[in-house]
């Protein structure tokens, strides 16, 4: 990783940045952080891009409204040249304009159409009213509150000697009630309202929603009332339609309306077709255009970060780039310069020396990405620090599997992960907004490995849905006679563990073949009473062994770090005491474990000393001979252990004092040196200054160094003990998982399987559902999550604390690919 300075010709800058964006391997630094976003140089271009995006969004909503498919482009279009931008703008402008025109036309037509439909319904309904009134004039009269001399219809009014006016219109149905009440109030009851619901839904011209509407006819008397009614109609935004009083005219009008409606339908469908054509043409290019505009915008955004050197007529950009990619960057710059019309001076790339910490960049592929994310979630590696990812790649799924050891469950998990991996391409863009899914999908390779490792550990534990497989045939035989097995007072019998008749007794019967089960746990344990006691002992010891080895490995990785950063003193003052302490106490413990496993067989196992008590006695330096379990493993154990303890204790002050004292000595020596050089050599003045700077940054308070080293020391030595204990979670979770799945089997599926006859088959059928559901939700999801989190913790805290600082910041290259992969924000 190196800091580079780019000198770009103003003409060539755009093309160069576009090439770099395609490459996606440089991270630009903002050189004018103090400048407001709208005071930057290319703000106008960015704004034009936003305008284009707005138009594209408009087009997209229009296309979606018509439910046309939007085609994704197969190839990745290049960022267009600045000249093309104007063309694009013109194209969008034209389309935008065209579409808007179509829309306004269609709107006007539609409104016309709606009005006519309303009028049609209006006429139909009113016709109905009048017909009714004609048919039963008396009935209506009675309806209308009696003695008022009001009659209906154009013809009848003449006979009554009074002119009765009416207004017809259409109003949204939900407003009808208040409308009626208002009419009644304002006109003091001197109106008669008749209404009928329109059966069809009518589109609202403003919102485009379909609404229910109602036709009404208001009858009233006199001019004043007419004004009022009209005002109310206006206020309620009811559409008033003229309705001739003469039934003949009404019929004619209705006919006219019908023909006009027919005409309009034709015109409407034509506009719709036209619109469809325009949109279909647009939809083919829409995505390409969107990508293009996005790229242009990104380029100008980047160029906004550059320094503009007016005197030399060029842009100055600063960027971080991987050293190994410099050639490609040069090439891209050259290509960019050529593409922009062969500027006289090509762009220059200049490596800069800087004291700033560069960003951390890991080369990743889709397989390692997930694991790197796990590591980065704790902290991005300090620049050039050793990256634990390659080790986590294996240890993480392994530790997970130790806790999740069940081949059946592992199989389900790996099948699920395998599906995700195989269908990767098609699943990639599905459910992108579903957060849970993206988490699972992002970690598909982790899950796959976790599943495969679980199958492996499950076979070692010989657990498949809490049952054992007897593949190779158990090494044990039960050779008790019926007289023993049938005795009432005996619940359990103990199998003879020794393969040979050592003691020469007559009742000895060989029950153990002498060769252990070839792979994993002997299935005989499945039926034994003391299975848990046995597996606990084994798993606990394994947890400790795995843990100590992993921690030791972590300490060795820190050696790597020291070598890389050339911290020679740290090897002697940090690494050595750490590894010696670990070796003296904990590696020794592992040796004891193996010693105990190999040196005590069935014959003498009852007299085997206890490891725990041995360890405590070792620390306390006491060697009692009384109970049997605290006797020594081997002769001379006392001397060896005392020596180990002394070594371990020496490590503590060694680490605590070593580094600070080294610092003090170095400071003194450097001070002497610099004064000497100052006196003698003026030529080295500059270098000297640099070292001064060096010192000033390094010259921290000594007290701080002491405190820091104190904390560091305490953390490490106490940590060794607590972390070792912490690895016992491997055993605890594995126990919990095994027990839980066994309980589930016993309590649920066992009910079905233990019932005889047809009832049994039905019961099994019924019980299988809850059993499988609980298996998936509790054992796979919940237990899996908890094992995952514990494995994560073991890596973050127990493993990485030995060597990993994680104080870096990530390398975020300017890349079109990343830009386009972002999920579009809905809104």
């Amino acid at each position: 990783m190196t800091l580079c300075q780019l000198f770009l010709q103003p003409d060539a800058a755009y093309a160069c940045i576009s090439e770099l964006g395609e490459l996606g391997i440089v991270q630009f630094r903002d050189l004018n952080p103090n400048v407001n976003s709208f005071q930057r140089k290319f703000v106008n271009e960015v704004r034009r891009c936003e305008e284009m995006e707005r138009k594209l969004r408009f087009l997209e909503t229009e296309i979606k409204k018509d439910e046309l498919p939007i085609y994704d482009p197969e190839d990745n279009p290049d960022a267009p040249k600045p000249r093309e931008m104007i063309d694009l703008e013109a194209t969008f402008e034209k389309l935008d304009h065209e579409l808007k025109e179509i829309n306004t036309n269609a709107d006007a037509l539609l409104r016309n159409f709606n009005e006519l439909t309303e009028l049609k319904h209006n006429l139909q309904m009113t016709q109905g009213f009048f017909d009714e009134a004609q048919a039963h004039p008396v009935g209506v009269l009675e309806d209308m509150a009696g003695e008022r001399e009001i009659e209906l219809g154009g013809q009848t009014t003449a006979t009554a000697g009074m002119k009765l006016g009416f207004i017809t219109g259409v109003i949204p149905r939900e407003r009808m009630v208040t409308f009626e009440r208002m009419l009644w109030r304002v006109c003091r009851g001197n109106v008669f309202v008749k209404q009928a619901d329109i059966p069809d839904l009518i589109e609202d011209p403003l919102t485009g929603e379909k609404v229910h509407k109602t036709v009404f006819v208001v009858f009233f008397q006199g001019e004043q009332l007419k004004n009022r009614v009209q005002k109310i109609c206006e206020g309620f935004r009811a559409n008033i339609y003229p309705c001739p009083e003469n039934p003949h005219e009404r019929r004619e009008l209705a006919m006219g309306v019908m023909t006009r409606l027919d005409d309009l339908t034709v015109v409407l469908s034509q506009t719709q077709d036209h619109r469809q054509r325009v949109l279909a043409a647009t939809s083919r290019n829409l995505r390409t255009w969107q990508i293009k505009v996005k790229k242009i915008k990104a380029i100008y955004h980047t160029m906004n970060m550059f320094n503009n050197d007016v005197a030399r007529k060029c842009f100055i950009a600063e960027c971080w780039a991987p050293v190994s990619e410099l050639d490609r960057i040069q090439l891209a710059l050259r290509k960019g310069s050529e593409a922009s019309g062969g500027g006289t001076v090509s762009s220059v790339l200049n490596r800069m020396i800087t004291r700033e910490q560069p960003p951390t960049h890991h080369k990743l592929n889709k397989f390692t990405q997930g694991f790197q994310n796990l590591v980065d979630a704790y902290g991005v590696a300090t620049y050039r620090e050793i990256n634990p990812m390659p080790f986590v790649l294996i240890t993480f799924p392994f530790l997970f599997a130790v806790m999740f050891g069940d081949a059946g469950h592992g199989l389900i998990v790996s099948v699920f992960a395998l599906w995700m991996v195989i269908k990767e391409r098609s699943l990639k863009d599905k459910w992108r907004t579903q957060e849970v899914w993206t988490i699972f999908f992002g970690g598909r390779y982790i899950i796959l490995l976790m599943g495969l490792f679980s199958i492996y550990t499950g076979l070692i534990y010989n657990d498949v849905f809490s049952k054992s497989l007897n593949i190779f045939g158990s090494s044990w035989r039960v050779k008790f006679g019926d007289e023993i097995l049938n005795r009432r007072d005996i619940d359990t019998v103990q199998l003879e563990p020794t393969p040979y008749n050592y003691s020469g007794t007559r009742e000895y019967q060989q029950m153990y073949s002498g060769t252990p089960y070839p792979f994993g746990l002997d299935p005989i344990w499945q039926v034994s009473e003391n299975k848990i006691t046995f597996t606990n002992s084994v798993k606990m010891k394994f947890a400790i062994i795995i843990g100590i080895i992993q921690m030791g490995f972590g300490v060795f990785l820190s050696l790597w770090n020291h070598l890389h950063f050339n911290h020679r003193y740290a090897i002697y003052l940090e690494f050595l005491p750490q590894i010696i302490f670990l070796a003296c106490i904990f590696f020794y413990l592992i040796i004891l474990i193996f010693y105990k496993w190999t040196h005590f067989d069935g014959l003498v196992s009852t007299q085997a000393p206890s490891l725990l008590i041995q360890l405590i006695n070792m620390i306390l330096l006491s060697y009692p001979t009384e109970p049997e379990s605290s006797r020594t493993f081997y002769s001379g154990q006392r001397g060896v252990q005392t020596a180990l303890i002394i070594f371990a204790v020496i490590c503590i002050p060694w680490m605590l004092l070593g580094k600070p004292i080294y610092r003090i000595i170095m400071n003194k020596r450097r001070a002497n040196y610099s004064t000497v050089t100052n006196h003698t050599e003026n030529a080295e003045h500059e270098i000297d200054e640099q070292t001064h700077e060096n010192e000033s940054t390094k010259k921290v308070e000594m007290s701080e160094v002491w405190v820091e080293q104190g904390i560091h020391t305490i953390e490490y030595f106490l940590g060794c003990i607590s972390h070792t204990a912490s690895y016992l979670r491997l055993w605890a979770l594995s126990l919990a998982h095994a027990q839980l799945s066994e309980v589930l089997w016993q309590m649920v599926l066992h009910i079905g399987l233990s019932t005889n006859g047809y009832a049994g088959s039905i019961l099994t059928f019924l019980v299988f559902m809850p059993w499988s559901c609980l298996t998936v939700f509790i054992l796979l999801l919940m237990e899996g999550l908890s094992a995952f989190l514990h494995a994560l913790r073991l890596h973050w805290v127990e493993f990485q604390s030995k060597f990993y600082k994680g104080e870096g910041y990530p390398f975020i290259p300017f890349s079109f690919r990343l830009l386009l992969d972002e999920v579009p924000i809905e809104g």
Partner: protein, 349 residues
């Protein structure tokens, strides 16, 4: 105590929402940036980086102040409606009470509009959407307050407030103002009592705010009524009586007939004394109205310092309105290239 215990059960979600909305209110640094904008496009660009996000993104250039105003109001109304929809009794009644003020404004707007012979179709879109009700459009039917009452307002929640101003006089300009003031008086007192019955912290916070509102109205009515032919008694009838000025201060206000008189009355109340002292009529000075706005903002901000009460909803709405006024002010200043007074907005944070 019991109310506090169960407050979150019913209103916790709404309160959380409201506090979340509140944290989107523009900060001093945002205003600082807004004031620097050269054009409305810059303003849009900057607002994009705030909580407003893309609310202007789909507007075609060139942008006008009216469009910004509409969008701002739309956003506020949307947020308030959302709060109203998720609210639960008695919070929903409380929120309804808030909208009554907008109803009064709308009614007055329509009546004055019709008096000036404006078409109802032009007027309706200008009404505040929070204060619209179904019968609103039909207001033009009425010629006298009595008709207004019987025809339109009877069904609305404003009916009880209107009882006092039923008369057969024709509606005219002065009349309308009196109707507005009477309605407001009745509304404020009713709202005040409602908050009192709610009790607890809501009462403490809201009564303080509403008392200030009442006093402000009393002051403004007095100041605006000089030389209008409104008699002292008529004026006194319009004073809301739920403020700190009641009863002595209101009596004094009734008798004054000059700006200095009002200032003397205010001098007896420490909180108003400061406001009147800080204001002036010279150019460059802040007007008393601005001072009142500032004090209101302060009160509303204080409402957010307490937990488990409804005051924050009222305060949020008022603060947001103030913010909208500020943005519009700045936008107007930018649009009219009148930058000298651009700093006259009222800072919230």
């Amino acid at each position: 105590m019991k109310d506090d215990l169960f407050f979150n059960l019913d209103h916790g979600y709404a309160e959380g929402l409201c506090r979340g909305f509140k944290s989107g209110i523009l900060k001093a640094s945002d205003y600082h940036n807004l004031v620097q904008c050269e054009t409305l496009e810059d303003l849009r660009l900057h607002l994009q980086s705030t909580d407003y996000g893309n609310f202007l993104a789909n507007e075609a250039s060139p942008l006008t102040v009216n469009v910004i105003d509409d969008r701002l109001r739309e956003k506020l109304v949307q947020e308030f409606q959302h709060l109203r929809n998720v609210s639960y009794q008695p919070l929903s009644t409380f929120l309804d009470y808030i909208t009554y003020a907008y109803m009064i404004d709308n009614i007055v707007l329509l009546i004055t509009g019709t008096l000036h012979q404006r078409a109802i179709g032009d007027l309706l879109p200008r009404c505040h959407p929070l204060g619209s009700f179904e019968q609103l459009g039909a207001i033009t039917v009425a010629d006298t307050p009595a008709q207004l009452y019987t025809a339109v307002l009877v069904d609305t929640p404003l009916a009880p407030y209107f009882i006092d101003c039923i008369s057969e006089h024709d509606l005219d300009e002065l009349n309308v103002e009196i109707i507005r003031s009477t309605l407001y008086k009745a509304y404020l007192e009713d709202f005040y009592n409602f908050c009192k019955t709610l009790g607890g912290i809501t009462a403490e916070v809201m009564c303080e705010i509403l008392a200030f509102e009442a006093d402000r109205r009393a002051f403004m009515i007095t100041i605006n009524s000089f030389d209008t032919g409104l008699t002292q008694d008529e004026r006194a009838k319009l004073y809301p009586t739920c403020g700190h000025l009641n009863p002595d201060g209101l009596q004094e206000l009734r008798r004054t007939d000059s700006y200095d008189g009002v200032r003397d009355v205010a001098a007896r109340y420490p909180q108003y004394k400061v406001l009147f002292e800080g204001s002036g009529t010279n150019t460059g000075d802040k007007t008393i109205e601005d001072k009142f706005f500032e004090y209101e903002v302060k009160l509303n901000m204080n409402a957010f310092l307490r937990q488990f009460h409804f005051g924050i909803f009222y305060a949020y709405l008022k603060l947001k309105e103030q913010e909208n006024r500020n943005i519009i002010w700045i936008a107007e200043c930018i649009a009219q290239k009148h930058r000298t007074r651009i700093d006259n907005y009222i800072p919230i944070f």
